[in-house]
Symmetry: C2
Subunit: 454 residues, 2 copies
């Protein structure tokens, strides 16, 4: 991880102020595109633009890809479509180009596409734009080395030399038959170990792991992890090779989806970052707080209906936080287990009933233990003269834990079945709901006990 | 993602029952090691062992790596050390071998190490075992292709052919000087594009991204993502090449650490999975519930000290869930933002004060809005005759939100400074603490208002 010291930034700012292009070029020469992007984010827009103009087109395009979406939009908003097409899109892989074009308005897209010099690349980009962003097709690029299974190794190497010229990195060579159907992959080490084989198909690896273009990204990511891949070919429904997905894009997707799950579990709505501005942060956090507020007011309404009960035994009020908190905690645990299981593939939606039954068991155990411990505590502290409270609290705790276990499991499983993100049911949503249900259970049981015991 | 249908499993079970080795071998031949591992997990231990014995040693070792830790331990526990060494360790990359050996008892380790045929491999494993598991050194393997910067391309290819023979996949060739210091990398496409260059150093990529062996894994993962790498070289403090880390191991680490953060935020202690047994699940969940229970009992104690206040105005009791819940929600958000920022590198521990000040601002805004809305609600509902409650609730809400924002930020930042996992401070911990503090604030302000207004 590069860390820019205050001194280094001052040094760079000095160079920019002197407009010393040679010194600036020398500084940039040693930096990776990702480091240049990071440097830009430390500078003012004007300073950054001075440095940006010094980059050659290939490097400028790479740096563009590494910028935050907001910074990229700022930079592109001042540029005419033709310049964007010639300076960036022409120099990017198709999958990166599609990502950038997707961030633009409909109108700008067409303008930019019409300015791309390389008709083949423009056609590929138009094809790629048709795929859903959340599928393998939306993540793939078309830059890859493809050879025919019947070619000899020297013939392959000749072809590969031509095809590889424009590519950053090559990890796999894909082998197809005469109808463009994917037949295998050729690990690059075979170029070294089998330099003169007569037909590629004799040394290629058969049955390559491949995905169809409409496979959801989550599944693609699980396949990458399971099979330890660095790239994966994408095929159409009859097995013809369409493109390839690279592991760096998959890692970005995995991080994004994990962050999203984490944010939902923590009551954050937007894609919020610790370095966001004050208002962005407030906007990302206020909605859940307001829902929590409404939940809290619902609870005050429920408790208000029961005010008479508190007059009979005011100690009933003391255990409100315990009942509500326990319901919230249990529900959060149950829903998190479901969300995580669905995300890492260890939980199968077809086994919903089994999971619900298991949760019932966990709820029985946990609810029983907690209810008993609290009963013993209350018996020895307030027990005498507060039988209603002592019994109501423990019976309610048991019921609340049972309910919250099953409910916390049921809701995300149902969302998943309805093709809605199950992570929406975690965190504040489930804990607020369980808090309210907990109050209803507690108040009902208390009322019933007051009538029964008096 | 491979899914084994019921029919397919029955088909396989039939083959195993008939002890039909040829048919079984034919079924296994088309499967990836990860798929074989998955198949094993669907079968009984005895059935799995029948299939396992049919695999050749290389494949058996790969399948072993893909099994769950529990299944692997079961399989290895019945095998003598010599067999483990010869059948598995000899056929694994050093990084995988180290992972397996680390799962065993101290005593078994030495026995197995003494049975490894290849002395060089045994030496590498012993060296690797010295590194901390959570550092680059603990994740690296020693299998890589290394060439000297002064060699010509044909000389390199000759050497690479020898070195590559035993390796599964080759993505990079590392270039060193005469003192074994890492000087660059040679992308494999250069073999194709520059077949006859006189010195490798003329075509290698300079200044490769590399990490020192003691770099924490989190930083290594961020570097992989930032620089879009599929492998990274590891060097010692004077830049000599020690080994390499591959992207699949990094992805596993990233998933593990995300799952851990998610579990801590959701109140799960162990590494719990939805397919764990009932007791494992209970064990993973009960501790937090018990802490929540103690928190709830603390609250009942605090509220008990204040019973007189509820007699003055029983409506005070109605807002207990609102105050506690709001404090919990705000604290969870604040701590989650810090944990996520530290994990993805967007938050720098050096900017703690800045982050705390920003949280103070967010707290002011959110607290002000919520306190005002609740004030308006209470004014029009219970307002008349319940001035103490109306004022106490809104003033407390404001104070609780302010406190929870700052406290939720402060605790994980402090843990990070103390080199303790900041994720420990998320979820139930922060929400229970804020619940208690919230009650203290609410009760204090109410008491003060009762005295002031009566």
């Amino acid at each position: 991880m590069k860390e820019y010291t205050h001194e280094y930034l001052e040094h760079i700012r000095g160079i920019i102020e002197r407009r010393d292009e040679d010194a600036a070029r020398a500084e940039l020469a040693d930096l990776h595109p990702a480091d240049i992007a990071e440097l830009y984010q430390e500078l003012d827009l004007e300073e950054a633009e001075f440095l940006y103009k010094l980059l050659d087109d290939d490097l400028a395009a790479d740096v563009l890809m590494e910028l935050d979406e907001d910074d990229r939009r700022k930079l592109l908003s001042n540029m005419p479509a033709e310049e964007i097409a010639k300076q960036f899109i022409d120099h990017l892989d198709t999958d990166d180009a599609v990502d950038i074009i997707q961030e633009l308005d409909e109108e700008d897209r067409d303008k930019i596409l019409s300015h791309i010099d390389d008709v083949e690349q423009a056609g590929d980009i138009i094809d790629l734009l048709k795929y859903d962003e959340d599928t393998a097709g939306g993540l793939m690029g078309t830059e890859m080395i493809v050879v025919n299974e019947n070619w000899s190794m020297p013939e392959c190497i000749r072809q590969m030399r031509m095809q590889a010229e424009d590519m950053d990195e090559v990890y796999y060579v894909y082998v197809v038959d005469n109808d463009d159907r994917l037949k295998g992959t050729l690990p690059l080490k075979k170029l070294i170990t089998h330099p003169s084989v007569s037909k590629i198909k004799h040394v290629m690896e058969d049955d390559p792991v491949a995905v169809k273009a409409d496979t959801p990204i989550d599944e693609v990511a699980l396949d990458f992890e399971k099979y330890d891949l660095v790239a994966m070919p994408v095929v159409d429904s009859i097995g013809r090779l369409l493109g390839r997905i690279t592991v760096d894009d998959v890692m970005d997707q995995v991080r994004d989806s994990n962050e999203r799950d984490y944010q939902l579990a923590s009551g954050l709505t937007h894609d919020v970052e610790s370095d966001d501005k004050l208002f962005a942060q407030t906007k990302a956090r206020l909605p859940w707080l307001l829902i929590g507020m409404i939940g809290g007011l619902c609870n005050s309404f429920i408790l208000g209906k029961f005010e008479g009960g508190f007059v009979v035994d005011p100690t009933l009020a003391l255990f409100i936080p315990l009942i509500g908190g326990t319901g919230g905690n249990v529900g959060t645990q149950s829903s998190a287990i479901v969300v995580q299981g669905l995300a890492n593939g260890s939980l199968d939606i077809k086994k919903s009933t089994q999971q619900l039954l298991k949760e019932l068991g966990v709820g029985l155990l946990n609810g029983g233990i907690i209810a008993l411990l609290v009963f013993i505590y209350n018996y020895f502290t307030i027990g005498h003269g507060h039988e209603v409270t002592t019994f109501a609290v423990s019976i309610s705790l048991f019921c609340v834990v049972m309910f919250a276990s099953v409910f916390g499991t049921f809701v995300p499983l149902t969302l998943e079945k309805l093709k809605i993100d199950p992570a929406l049911a975690t965190g504040p949503f489930i804990s607020i709901t369980n808090d309210i249900i907990g109050m209803l259970i507690y108040m009902s049981i208390s009322s019933w006990l007051i009538i029964a015991l008096h």
